[in-house]
Amino acid sequence: MKFKASYFSVSGTLVKENLRRFWAIPVIGFLIYFLSGVFPILMSYSHLNDMSSYIEMCLNNKQPFYMIAHLLIPIITAVIIFRYLQHTSSVTAFHAMPFTRMKLYNSSLISGLIMILTPIIANGLLLLCIAKPAYQMWTYDADLMSLSTDVSGLIDVFARADILTWMGESIVIVLVIYAISVFAGMVTGNSVMHLAMAFGFNFLVPALYGVFILYCNYLYGFDYSGNWSETMLGSSPYLQVFTHGGEFAIGLIIYYLLNALVLFILSAVLYQKRKLEKASDAFVFKFMVPIISYLVAFFGMSLFGFYFSVLGGGEPYFYAGLIAGAVVFFVLGRMIVLKTPRIFNAKSVKSFAVYAVIAAVFVTSIMCDLTGFEDRIPNADKVKGAAGGKFVGEESGTRYYSELYLGGSGMHLIQSFTYTSEENITALVQLHQDILKNRAAFEVYNGRMSYLKFSYDTGSLLPMQRAYSVPTTFLVSNAQCKQLFEGKEFKQYYSLNNLNYTRMISINFNDPLTASNTITVSNQNELKELMACMEQDFQERTYEQQVDVTHMYANATLNYKMKDERGKTKDSNMYMEIKQSDKNTLKWLEEHGYSEQFLLTADQVESITVYKYDYQEQQNESYDMATMDQKAATIAESNVKYGIEEEGFTITDPEQIQLILDNYMQNATDYNHYYYAYANLKPGVFADGRDGGYQSDETMYFNDDNLPDFLKSVF
């Protein structure tokens, strides 16, 4: 009669014995969490607000010791608990005892679970016991800073809900790491390999994904900063903590728990299939030998490939690196998995041949774009929603970060705001087509580029994403961009009225050349008026005004209170440009006397020195220098070195200085040919105590079109 083992049978005796044998692990785990979490909090219990940032860091799992414990405790536990499988004497002793394999696996698994969860639960309970409001006192709101009794607008970072969230997220993290580590134990045959694979497997998916993304960068239009990085980090709960928001959405938690469950079941199946006589080998299943060899070869090949391409800067170097890396690391990997240096035989050659074919197909499919990735543009009729970013020109800051607006979440520019109207989607698709048509020109262009992203919702699981570096000059003259910017959808979404804030605290302004000199508007009535002016200017702004290359009027920083996804009130801010064309805002600032407080004027400038850069001329000079005799060349080189030939043209006339201050650009558009200038400021201009003689914080640029006439005659 065949003995039927229960799949859920557990030996209480073995669990108790495991806990008795390995009690040190949960105790050390407890102490790490306690000494780096509960203990410092208790030390500052009477003035807990001072610890609010630290508490928040701990409860968001960003505390370094917490993260170390989250990673090491489950890995070490799995290695130690299943160590009996990795030695011939212990594997014999355990399996001769009155246990079924299932009972042994279940009992060991549960022992480990108790050991990894106890420290978190115990510390969580302690934190729940000592929880009391702790407010983040740093805020833009001066009123709240001074009112210690009024905490209505402040954030309590030590609420019981936060502690329970921490417990939940921590349990999910250690559970998945433990599940992966247990799985590693089932396929490996000795403890060293178990430990190595437990670490390796925990980061395998993100690492493979990351390397794949590196290869994909060779595809024109591949968006490496799109959903890819989020997906890559999100594939591991441990890395999810470091993503943009770091939140564990319910869907993600279910995904992680399912992952852990599948791995536990898979490990149980492998335990049943495991040949115990393989204890002390590197791997106990034959199928692992090519998998690990190929993985090592793939990572090594990629490492050498990218390293060589950096060294040589060309595709031949890249391919040479790939080949060298594949050979070296395949040999290394095979030696490791077979635990012998004697791998030079026909079997290894055959195995390498298989790998070489797979690698060649993979690399070729990317480098030659066999999947047609680069030319693929969706049909506008089939797109439900589309987004494009950075066609707003040179504007830096966070003005067009969609997450800052009501209904926004996720990464800026792409995820939240989408065009849904037919004409805008068609315009976006047309813009995409225009870019592909001009690809050849864009790839050799040496000038100011905008990183333009496209994201199409075509109804499939993931959006179709592309990203291109496009000359800003191309965007300025593009009709589609004008339509996309001036259209109702864009203006409505990015309206300041749609900004996700509950209370505006202040707006800071500074001149772009003296970023450190800031004035602040904080009066609520003034703020209301100012916001209305800024909104009106935005709504009336044309695309030409948006992308005008002339420098901005001022930098503005909006400091405000907002409610995050969890409904918590917190501080936020937005950096934006006040354009020269923003007449209403400029008028308001002038009328209220703010402009004169931060705008740089000619009478504050001692002098401005203007230089010219021309790539072709510099090349010619280099050629001339190369053809000089030795002595003359040395003198010329030293002149260049000490800037003698770099001396620019210095202007001291206030009228000419004002002309320059009115017309400069903040960035050069053509990197082959431009003019640049520095302002030397008079004493007392800088509010931070810097004295005269200092150059402006930023550089001023000109091209041939906007260079003042009096300078044209000089250069």
């Binding site: 003995f3 004497s89 014999t92 394999r101 299932m102």
Partner: protein, 298 residues
């Protein structure tokens, strides 16, 4: 009854057991003999449910032993390569075994610890190899196993302890009908303790015999005749013959009474039946087997 039927076991491309058959009667002691690498430990690990066989069946009282915890509760196994929990002493190990085996006999445990004179509180890792073997023996015997599997059990034990070990084993066989399978690479050690012997070579069972039956069938005789007789040993089934002057030394396989009758009919001048060692029996039984097996016997 422990039965091994047509068992194959391969380690990658190496065949460790080849269509192996083995039968151990209830309440008997079975000696498994073989050189290093013959497959003794492999079949023992398969019998104890540690290794899964590729083909064939291993049963105890009709039940498959693999993954059968009910059978394992009644089985005690002392491997050659001992294992104790790190940092544990005998007392702690005993506590674990007591919780694990339902027939644990605390009284016997106390007695055995005293008799073997082991320090219960000393870490087992600090014991000598022989002492560790004694500790393992105490633990296993205290579980009162119905089946005792011993792999090279007396290696590293001094003669007094050896006797003590065998005393316990023989007593349990006699009193509780415990079934014992014991492996060794030395036939001499098995003599006087085993009821049956199996000889293993390169994964094959070369020979499996009941010792009483074997000893009653093989005889060593000295014979001398006054005059030469034609075919003097006809009908005796001579396995081996040596002439030492006028005296012939013979190893014959036959019933004792038949041998005596045939010889006496020819009126010998001298007729003696000499005692045979187990080694001699196997040498003549195995006759033409390879040198490897011969090595077991000497």
């Amino acid at each position: 009854m422990l039965t091994v039927s047509d068992v194959d076991k391969n380690f990658d491309n190496f065949r460790a057991l080849n269509a192996l058959n083995l039968n151990v009667r209830r309440g008997s002691i079975y000696g498994l003999i073989g050189t290093n690498g013959a497959g003794k430990t492999t079949i023992i690990k398969a019998i104890t449910g540690v290794l899964k066989v590729d083909k064939g069946q291993i049963t105890i009282e009709g039940e498959d032993v693999f993954d059968n915890s009910a059978i394992k509760e009644r089985m005690g196994y002392i491997p050659d390569d001992l294992y104790f929990f790190a940092g544990y002493n005998l007392k702690e190990m005993a506590r674990f075994y007591k919780a694990l085996y339902p027939k644990w006999n605390s009284e016997r445990y106390e007695n055995m610890v005293k008799q073997f004179n082991l320090d219960e509180k000393r870490k087992l890792a600090r014991f000598s190899k022989g002492m560790q073997k004694q500790a393992a023996f105490i633990l296993i015997m205290t579980t009162m196993p119905d089946y005792l599997i011993l792999d090279e059990p007396i290696d590293g034990l001094d003669p007094i302890i050896r006797k003590l070990v065998w005393k316990y084993v023989v007593e349990d066989v006699a009193e509780r009908e415990m079934t014992v399978l014991v492996s060794s690479h030395n036939l001499k050690e098995m003599e006087g303790i085993c009821d049956s012997i199996g000889i293993l070579s390169k994964g094959n069972m070369v020979m499996e015999r009941d010792l009483d039956e074997l000893k009653s069938d093989i005889h060593k005789i000295q014979v001398a005749y006054k005059e030469k007789i034609e075919n003097p040993y006809e009908g005796l089934n001579v396995l081996h013959k040596e002439e030492r002057g006028t005296v012939d030394l013979l190893i014959v396989r036959n019933r004792r009474d038949v041998v005596e009758q045939i010889i006496q009919e020819r009126k010998p001048l001298l007729f003696d039946m000499l005692p045979l060692t187990l080694e001699e029996i196997f040498i003549y039984e195995l006759g033409g087997v390879d040198n490897e097996v011969q090595g077991i016997l000497f």
